[in-house]
């Protein structure tokens, strides 16, 4: 990664500038179109609809829940991954690959895989169904699982980066002062990586909020149960485009909020 202070020097060739402008237009124009075409006058009425509110509450609830799950599981996973630098090559690379897969895997594939594991006929799902009468797919819990599957790597890599940049001797110093391994983690390591954890949690939340493919495959689209904002928006596009646009605007607003929230957190260790 380039240093953030790298200076752009000299003049760029005009084809580079032209293509860059085209690329930028491709990123910005659709969003501008969304904002311009939005039915602003009807917006209050659209956003107050029961179907919209249901999707909104469900989306925020599940995204918060999956962020919480990612924090509980992802911070320890990041700690192991950061320490894996001392491991032999093969297990180290396998571990890293396992954490990276959901980043590059089409979410639908993740949804199918979750279904094969936890569906009624799935490896674990059949046991849950036979023994406990628990069915995971097509429930709100399934939404959270699908979101955790796709969002966990974002948190893990953010925290791992922060862990790698801390001075390990700080942990050794804590041990000589009587801190147990757990206390070292709780009172030294965790506070030092807090900015990384916060940035990871925000990224994780926004990824969970936008989750579509794995969710619709594994959890379906039951109103109020599994129909999250992106799914509601997609479905509304076929029947009521104005509602779809309103939902899309809502998601865009949240994304911009996340971006603003992260702006100050990309510099871990800087106070204030």
């Amino acid at each position: 990664m380039a240093a953030p202070t790298t200076r752009v020097s000299g003049r760029l060739a005009w084809p580079v500038i032209a293509l860059a402008g085209l690329g930028l237009a491709l990123l910005v124009l659709p969003l501008a179109g969304l904002v311009v075409r939005a039915p602003w006058a009807e917006l209050p009425e659209l956003l107050a609809r029961r179907s919209v509110l249901e999707a909104l509450v469900l989306s925020f609830g599940t995204a918060l829940a999956s962020t919480a799950v990612c924090l509980v599981l992802g911070v320890p996973l990041a700690a192991v991954l950061a320490r894996a630098a001392d491991w032999p090559t093969v297990p180290r690379r396998l571990l890293r690959a396992a954490v990276t897969v959901p980043l590059v895997l089409p979410p639908v594939v993740g949804g199918i895989a979750l279904l094969l594991l936890l569906g009624r006929r799935g490896l674990i799902g059949s046991v849950l169904d036979d023994w406990f009468g628990v069915t995971v797919p097509f429930s709100t819990g399934a939404v959270v699982l699908a979101q955790v599957f796709v969002a966990l790597p974002f948190l893990v890599f953010a925290v791992e980066g922060a862990l790698r940049s801390t001075d390990r001797r700080t942990e050794l110093a804590a041990a000589t002062l009587g801190a147990s391994r757990w206390q070292v983690f709780r009172f030294v390591t965790l506070p030092l990586v807090a900015p990384g954890v916060a940035a990871g949690a925000v990224l994780c939340f926004s990824r969970a909020l936008g989750e579509f493919g794995a969710t619709i495959t594994f959890a379906g689209s039951l109103p109020g149960v599994t129909r999250t904002l992106p799914i509601a928006s997609y479905l509304a596009m076929q029947s009521d485009p104005d509602e779809a646009i309103a939902l899309a605007l809502l998601l865009l607003a949240v994304s911009i909020g996340v971006l603003l929230g992260l702006r100050d957190r990309w510099l871990p260790g800087v106070r204030g």
Binding site: D167, R169, L172, A173, L177, G178, A179, S180, L192
Partner: protein, 253 residues
């Protein structure tokens, strides 16, 4: 066995019941095997002196339990610190090279850290006060380590280590992070604090001036082996290796 201190200095206090440190250790760091055997009694600090890469810091880390022993043993008084005794249960305090203060904690919370690990946070803050006073840190108590000078950071590191009430104190190159102008003053101050601590103390350095001010006797470590031991005067009288000769004449490194 222990050499007498020069007559110009007052005799060190010898608090009753302070245990001696006995180390007979071998550690491996990279290609180097480092072996040394020594005993340090309370009130008579030992300086381990040697060129960079001789293995001095590794030796300290092994005694503190921060790196595993290849073989040998460490004992504090009658307590044998087996391989399995982790650093947090050794009661061996360490002042690290460039101090390694907790960057996110204030001076007060750095000094309170050891107490906080054993008791509550409120107790720890209160318990830190006398240490802050003794080391002249009251005015700096709310500062973060990044806002301290080298000398101030050294005081915090020492107060933090001693607030844990260790039986043994290890100092790893305590002067190397200081500006040259303040070294002499800080050396004298550190010598006073080490004398007040009174327990077995080991100092790692490559400076004979540090050894002269802070320690009674010297152990020379070169490429992982002990090449000479004695007082600085004894070393001067009969330097055992070319390194010792250069080091004493001030031309080493």
């Amino acid at each position: 066995m222990m050499p007498a201190r020069p007559p110009s200095t007052s005799p060190p206090p010898q608090p009753a019941g302070r245990p001696a440190l006995h180390a007979d250790v071998t550690v491996v760091r990279g290609e180097t095997r480092i072996s040394a055997e020594f005993e340090v009694v309370p009130g008579h600090p030992l300086a381990i002196i040697g060129p960079n890469g001789a293995g001095k810091s590794s030796l300290l880390a092994a005694i503190a339990g921060l790196v595993p022993l290849e073989s040998g043993r460490v004992a504090v008084g009658g307590r044998v610190l087996h391989r399995g005794v982790p650093p947090e249960r050794r009661r061996i305090g360490v002042v690290f090279q460039d101090y390694v203060l907790f960057p996110n904690l204030t001076v007060r919370d750095n000094v309170a850290f050891a107490t906080r690990m054993r008791h509550s946070r409120a107790n720890a803050r209160a318990a830190a006060e006398p240490w802050l006073e003794r080391y002249g840190l009251v005015a700096l108590a709310d500062r973060l380590p990044a806002e301290l000078s080298g000398g101030q950071a050294q005081r915090v590191a020492l107060a933090r280590a001693l607030a844990a009430e260790p039986e043994v104190l290890l100092l790893d190159e305590p002067m190397s992070a200081l500006d040259v102008e303040v070294r002499a003053d800080m050396r004298a101050e550190l010598a006073t604090h080490v004398r007040e601590f009174g327990g077995a103390t080991v100092l790692v350095t490559h400076s004979p001036a540090d050894a002269a001010a802070l320690a009674d006797s010297v152990l020379v470590l070169e490429s992982g082996r002990v090449t000479q031991r004695g007082t600085l005067d004894e070393l001067r009288a009969a330097p055992a290796t070319p390194y010792v000769e250069r080091m004493l004449s001030g031309s080493a490194e």
